[in-house]
Point group: C2
Chain length 394, copies 2
């Protein structure tokens, strides 16, 4: 019989998707160039030409049976080796290829990492504000996601609430830095304190507590911002990465889990992931994309537009009186709504063709998210709309 659990999920429609659909419909009326659509976190800059060139060269020159052949479920060994070497060089780690599990983006990485360390009924903690998809990602494994209230001062970590919620039932803590939706990057001080508390609780409870670090925005960090690599500070770390944002390849579904070589059972976690994969549909990333990405590991798309856009918006919005913590990375910012009801504010903004996502689905009330992964020219044109919105309503 049709399984009711998934049927029921069809009722809940994502606010972000609804706003995006509104923007598309409105665009058909007035031209999409006139809709200031800040709803979706889609990269707005193309993949590096080097990636395209590598793809074409492989298609022209490689034996198609090798090129399109089965990858091991863990990923192609040469690709895993290259990922390990790149991370070691950049972050001073000691990964080998055996610590890397290639996955379908960060979502795929999290799906495997959580199943490695949390059983049905176990708790996984994350911090508000958080990516709304964490709820289905975690809860559909059978584990239970609990959300630690936000540190609304600076969107680092509310350590008091964290310590209180870090009970014996918690098997993993899921962080996301640089953060969607706040744009904040955890400082070295924050990561150290997080690690200290988790280590203390591991000793107290006598079991591992894993840090699952979701890092799709790792390469989008703005000038002068302290952006530590979390796994360096805590042994029981599983880093979940995606090339979606760094290389502007979201549709090609490629990322990885990097298992800290010092964590418990470090040498078997990636093979455990390949066992888990048998139940989730042998969804290792496509061979050709694995091979192509391995050739451009240390490149990114031209990500500078995101910092340009942030600077323009941050200056204008703070001038207009918005309270906002200055983003350290990503392509999001998360100002305080000028009225406590962010949903009402988002509705008002729509009248100025400003599409802004209210914060409620991110686990905190009274803020809104601006996804400024759009052309700078459009960002500049949006400023007048923000001015009118504020002047005529607040």
């Amino acid at each position: 019989m049709i399984v009711q659990k998934y049927k029921d999920m069809l009722q809940g429609k994502s606010v972000i998707r609804q706003l995006s659909e509104f923007a598309t419909a409105r665009g058909q009326e007035i031209g999409y160039e006139n809709v200031f659509d800040f709803s979706l976190g889609n990269p707005s800059v193309p993949v590096p030409q080097e990636f395209t060139d590598v793809m074409i060269r492989m298609l022209q020159e490689k034996n198609p049976m090798e090129l399109h052949g089965y990858s091991q479920s863990l990923g192609i060994p040469s690709v895993r080796d290259k990922v390990a070497a790149s991370l070691n060089k950049r972050f001073g780690m000691n990964y080998t290829g055996n610590h890397i599990f290639m996955s379908t983006g960060a979502a795929g990485a999290i799906a495997h990492a959580v199943r490695c360390v949390a059983q049905p009924g176990d708790e996984v903690l994350t911090f508000a504000p958080h990516f709304p998809e964490y709820a289905p990602y975690i809860n559909l494994t059978g584990a239970v996601l609990k959300v630690v209230p936000a540190d609304t001062e600076n969107f680092q970590i509310n350590f008091e609430a964290f310590e209180e919620m870090l009970s014996e039932k918690v098997m993993a803590v899921l962080i996301n830095t640089p953060n969607n939706p706040s744009g904040m990057v955890y400082s070295t001080e924050t990561v150290k304190e997080l690690a200290r508390i988790m280590e203390e609780k591991q000793k107290q409870y006598g079991h591992d507590i894993f840090l699952i670090s979701d890092e799709p925005y790792r390469e989008i960090v703005f000038a002068g911002v302290d952006a530590p690599y979390p796994s360096k500070f805590y042994d029981n770390s599983l880093s979940c990465y995606s090339f979606s944002k760094s290389l502007s390849l979201p549709g090609e579904r490629i990322g990885y889990v990097a298992v800290n070589p010092k964590c418990t059972d470090a040498d078997i976690i990636s093979v455990m992931c390949s066992q888990i994969s048998r139940g989730t549909g042998h969804n290792c990333p496509p061979s050709i994309i694995q091979l192509a990405v391995a050739e451009v590991l240390d490149l990114t798309a031209d990500l500078s537009v995101y910092e340009t856009n942030m600077n323009i918006l941050y200056k204008e919005l703070t001038d207009l009186g918005f309270e906002c913590v200055r983003p350290g990375g990503t392509f999001y910012m998360f100002p305080k709504s000028p009225e406590s009801d962010a949903i009402a504010f988002s509705e008002k903004a729509k009248k100025y063709d400003l599409i802004l996502v209210p914060s409620d689905s991110f686990g905190v009330k009274g803020y809104f998210r601006i996804a400024y992964c759009i052309d700078t020219e459009k960002v500049e044109r949006s400023l007048e709309a923000f001015r009118r919105l504020m002047k005529e309503n607040y």
Copy 2:
């Protein structure tokens, strides 16, 4: 803490993989061209040139943000429409794009289809001999796989055993025609009888029983063989397809679920699949591969080599006294072992550099699988080894 269930799975090493590793090692000693490696079901013919040309053209001409952009979790709408149209034309069905869910190969398709219709604790039936991976595919969803004993007469269906095992707890029946490992294709008569029994039991139990039809070998059917499209005979059908074998693209992880438009909740099953996907890691197939496959839907690689190889092997093996049902498709055959212990037989065959998989892991004893997806020239050279194996041992 590390989840023991997946850790335990690391102990069980696949017999097929062990034999394949033996073949590789032996190849390093005597040259791989001298090892008659019939262990793995990997396509041995290249993807059609049209696929490569389409890929290159898209990389050269398409806007990279569109080409590599997010696909909907259900798949790209234009691709789903084209898959539906192709199936309608070939099999006289009435699919629309809404009945198609794009998946990471047949494994991904099965992972979603099973979760749609079977809850933890429910039973799923399949038939021996069967692809060994069905056990983890099904059991890791929480449902329980039960195997109906083989019809060893002709590897169709043992209906008596099936009716007995089709209890009220069974929510789905998983078939695989053309079949790995037997190479047999279910006749129209077999499919009709299967459908009749399932319909009767649906009425008796008052709940749906879904037919999940795993069809990666659908395009590899030999001359004159009756190969019905199962979904045409039973409304509650979910067809699971992969392009791995038909287009020789196993590493690119692309396939689909096609939901029979007449089945219960037909219009929501593909969207349910996209909800399930949130928990399994948003593993929709890569955008560029979806778009390229959609342009070559009615093409296949040159699959004729498989029939050539089958004819050569079937003639020689039956001449040598092997009992074997003549395969109707795939690139497998499944002769009876000349001694009841197929594992012992496989060991003896290794001494002649013949790598043959004993049938035990396929759910039946006393047979062996030959995966003849290798060059015809090598198949011909293998005949002498078969002759010596038989002459010197039996």
